[in-house]
């Protein structure tokens, strides 16, 4: 199924998304990677309102406030902070590779959306810079505020009911490996 969503997202928005669905998002998206998450943990807050927010695991390449290239970074590094961001109201996390180890913290509250890794040039056509916070952290680590227009294709890779496409692919690969050994 295909969905076109506008931010801020509601709990009903995310509960309608099933693993394997495709999503295009318009509205505000916040980038956050290692350092922004670490700061959220130590300070307990960020300079933006995360209620209904879409968080993008991305360290963009920006020049003169133009998005040059902005694909996703590996989400597993940020998995340990999932409970904190969901507690702050984040409804969708966009990234690549998934956060299987934190799947329980999404339950009933949020979804994980996969943007095709490496597709930074494609992303640049659908994202505009609105603002930047914590610029002192450097280009990749700063918290960029993007205006997204039909940003996608995003795959619902982990839904709010606990289905996780990464885990499914990994378990079936492990079974394949075991069956060939025996």
């Amino acid at each position: 199924m295909e969905h076109r969503l506008k931010t801020p997202l509601t709990v009903d928005d995310v509960r309608n998304l099933c693993a394997g669905d495709l999503v295009w998002i318009s509205g505000t998206i916040y980038t956050a990677r290692d350092k922004v998450h670490a700061l959220l943990r130590t300070e307990g807050r960020l300079p933006v309102d995360l209620n209904g927010a879409v968080l993008y695991h991305c360290g963009p390449l920006i020049r003169d406030d133009l998005v040059i290239s902005a694909g996703p970074t590996t989400s597993s590094r940020m998995a340990r902070y999932t409970k904190e961001v969901v507690d702050k109201g984040v409804k969708a996390i966009i990234g690549k590779g998934g956060i299987s180890e934190a799947s329980e913290h999404l339950r009933s509250q949020a979804v994980y959306l996969a943007y095709p890794g490496g597709c930074g040039a494609l992303a640049s056509r659908h994202l505009k810079v609105i603002d930047v916070h914590l610029a002192v952290l450097g280009m990749a680590e700063a918290l960029w505020v993007f205006e997204a227009e039909e940003f996608g294709p995003l795959v619902v890779a982990m839904d709010s009911l606990g289905r996780d496409l990464y885990q499914e692919a990994r378990l079936s690969a492990e079974a394949n490996l075991r069956s060939r050994r025996s």
């Binding site: 590996t74 690549k96 590779g97 990994r170």
Partner: protein, 278 residues
């Protein structure tokens, strides 16, 4: 040879590598997109191909992770180099960072402070070979951290099967390395030679057909079903290259260098009369 020519050539190969993929790499992604039977996986491959086209059209980096600068230098023994080779290449990296532009990725490993120009101790990393002749061939091989972080080295027991280790690595980590992957494998040598072989395997990979051992391993990897971006599908890897070296009778080092689908590289030749990009 003139220092300015090497600096210019360095900027040019980095710019080319960051904004367009080698033709054989695009061919393999297109072929996989045609064969892929899983619609979700196909959507990922189609997005990748659209992304590659946009990067070439807009002359912008394919991926925001413009990588860390690794260069393969093949130096003619009779070349005259009246300048510091490393500093000249570093100058090219600094200029490319500003001109392409590249994302500043180099940080001190302990303070995590960014040098802001993609150079610093150990960066750029140069792999140097000496050959007959008087020219210098420079290949830019920038690689992103997403795939580099998922690469792995093991000091196996000689009784272990090194190819099983490659498969286990891909099952555990391949989905996070931006598949479909190019897999460089180094078997043998020492603790530090095996990873160097694995990176050289990626450098040497080209559109030509693989040896039987590599074809069989590629088929087994794709049989795992990890799929593009780890979401499941027929296409987990697009190429495998294995390099080996003798090792101690008590050792079996194995290194797996996972490269993402954006297998970026570009080469130029620098001589006494200027430089030419391939």
């Amino acid at each position: 040879m003139k220092r300015a020519d090497l600096v210019e050539a360095t900027v040019a190969v980095l710019a080319r590598a960051e904004t367009s993929l080698p033709g054989w790499v695009v061919d393999r992604i297109e072929e996989a997109a045609r064969r892929e039977s899983n619609p979700l996986a196909e959507s990922q491959l189609e997005a990748i191909l659209e992304n590659v086209a946009i990067a070439a059209q807009d002359q912008i980096p394919i991926c925001q992770d413009t990588g860390f600068p690794v260069f393969h230098l093949v130096l003619g023994r009779d070349a005259s180099l009246p300048f510091d080779l490393r500093e000249a290449v570093a100058d090219g990296v600094r200029r490319a960072t500003d001109e392409v532009p590249l994302r500043p990725n180099a940080v001190d490993p302990l303070t995590r402070i960014n040098t802001d120009d993609n150079t610093g101790p150990g960066m750029p990393d140069l792999i140097l070979d000496l050959v007959d002749g008087d020219a210098l061939r420079i290949t830019a091989f920038p690689k992103g951290a997403g795939s580099e972080n998922m690469s792995l080295l093991a000091m196996l027991n000689p009784a272990d099967d090194p190819l099983e280790f490659v498969l286990e690595t891909i099952v555990e980590r391949g989905g996070m390395a931006c598949p479909p992957l190019f897999v460089g494998v180094g078997i043998g040598g020492t603790f530090d030679l095996a990873p160097r072989l694995a990176r050289r395997a990626l450098l040497e990979m080209s559109g030509s057909s693989e040896a039987k051992l590599e074809r069989d391993l590629l088929a087994r990897i794709n049989d795992l079903g990890i799929g593009p971006m780890g979401l499941g599908g027929d296409t987990t890897a697009l190429g495998v290259k294995i390099l080996t070296a003798c090792c101690h009778t008590a050792s079996l080092p194995v290194a797996v260098n996972l490269q993402c689908w954006a297998n970026r590289s570009a080469s130029a030749t620098v001589g006494d009369n200027g430089w030419n990009i391939d």
